[in-house]
Amino acid sequence: MRKVKKIIKSAAVLLFWLFIWQIISIIISNDLLFPSPLRVFERLFELLREINFYITVLTSLLRIAAGVVSALTAGVLLAVLSSAVPFVHDLLSPFMSVVKSTPVASFIFLLLLWIGRDVMPAVIAAVILLPVVWTNMETGIKQTDRNLLELAAAYKMKTSAKVRYIYLPSVMPYFVSALKSSTGIAWKAGIAAEVLALPVVSIGKYIFESKMYLQTTELFAWTVATIVISAAIEKLLVFATDKLSDGITGKYREKGTMDINDRIC
């Protein structure tokens, strides 16, 4: 019953904003500037009937996913290294700060000069994600409970058991938090990079061309598609990371009780 209520509530909120969109489009009454939701969804459904749409979406998704996976791998490895060797932390810290505070557009233009346009959006997604993953993972490793590590030492637990039973459950909430908070941003930054780099097959190229030829309805349709894909990725990630957490920490999360501060009893 609660689930039905939640669905009805979400649908009502969605309808409200579609209604506002419709009202604004009626007031402006110029499809070239602000198309109505009806026109946009009509165009979106046309796109959905084209095989090219799926190829484009999949190509962009894979391209940006490659960046995300690279950032996750590099972020985790660097966090392990910098937690173990303080000098590596000191070395990486200013680099990560610079990466975090540099405007994405600067990276895009610099990388356009240095690397190919097909790879650049993946690198941009990685650059956006890397400092967040590194910071969160390093915090997670440093926050690992010393009492449990002492217990592991006293009970002569193997390194593999320490990693599986202590470090992984400790860093999991930080990893999930990094993933949830930045993958959406990485996706959007990746699309923005595509708009500027114009890889041959990409969502960004279609968005750019719609803007170039003043096909505002097309632009809206691709934007709606990007938003829906972003929401779907987020849902999928939440599902996947919850399953991963359950695998590592048992079914504890199902009770809705595990959080960053809840680690030792």
Partner: protein, 190 residues
């Protein structure tokens, strides 16, 4: 031979041990008593190898089992997995045996947050006993193991300990003189 030889240890400016030596009676339960800050826990930690002395050494041959003052349970594991986590893969079955010893077999699927303080301490005790058997430890270290458990239950736990500690050397820290008399063969004042 179980011996602390010329141990010195300080935390910052606070000297806890200065050239301290102690020969621990073999196959006896020795109770360590003393005021707070006298280094009772530090002594057990040095014996367990989780704290290094600044000078001196601890001498013992054989495996060591340690029960901490706090339960130190993994909040993300069930009671039985908390015990299994420290056991070698061919000794996991001991979890069930010792949960039954402490009367908590039916709580094996619960998570630590579902347990009272005393129950957590009993789980920690079961883990300690299971590890002792799994590794055939001959030196048992217990740091105020039953501080959250009521008197009747403590007496029952001490009986279990005494049965499990036969032919083993035990160092048992407590503040409670009644408990010390009940458990100890001899008392060491720090």
């Amino acid at each position: 031979m179980t011996e602390f030889v010329n141990i010195s240890k300080k935390y910052g400016d606070k000297v806890v041990f200065d050239n301290f030596s102690l020969s621990v009676p073999e196959e006896k339960i020795s109770v360590i008593m003393g005021e707070s800050g006298k280094g009772k826990t530090t002594l057990l930690s040095i014996a367990a190898g989780i704290v290094n002395p600044d000078r001196g050494k601890f001498v013992h041959s054989g495996n060591i089992s340690y029960m901490f003052q706090e339960p130190r349970l993994f909040s993300w594991f069930t009671v039985s997995r908390n015990i299994e986590a420290v056991l070698p893969s061919d000794k996991k079955h001991l979890s069930r045996k010792y949960l039954s010893f402490i009367g908590m077999e039916e709580d094996s699927g619960k998570y630590p947050r579902e347990l009272s303080g005393g129950m957590k301490q009993r789980v920690s005790f079961a883990r300690f006993l299971a590890y002792t058997e799994a590794t055939d430890a001959n030196l048992l270290l217990l740091d105020e193991p039953f501080s959250s458990i009521d008197e009747n239950m403590t007496a029952a736990m001490i009986e279990i300990l005494k049965n499990s500690a036969k032919n083993k050397t035990v160092l048992y820290v407590t503040h409670n003189s009644n408990e010390a008399e009940l458990v100890g063969d001899n008392i060491i004042e720090l």
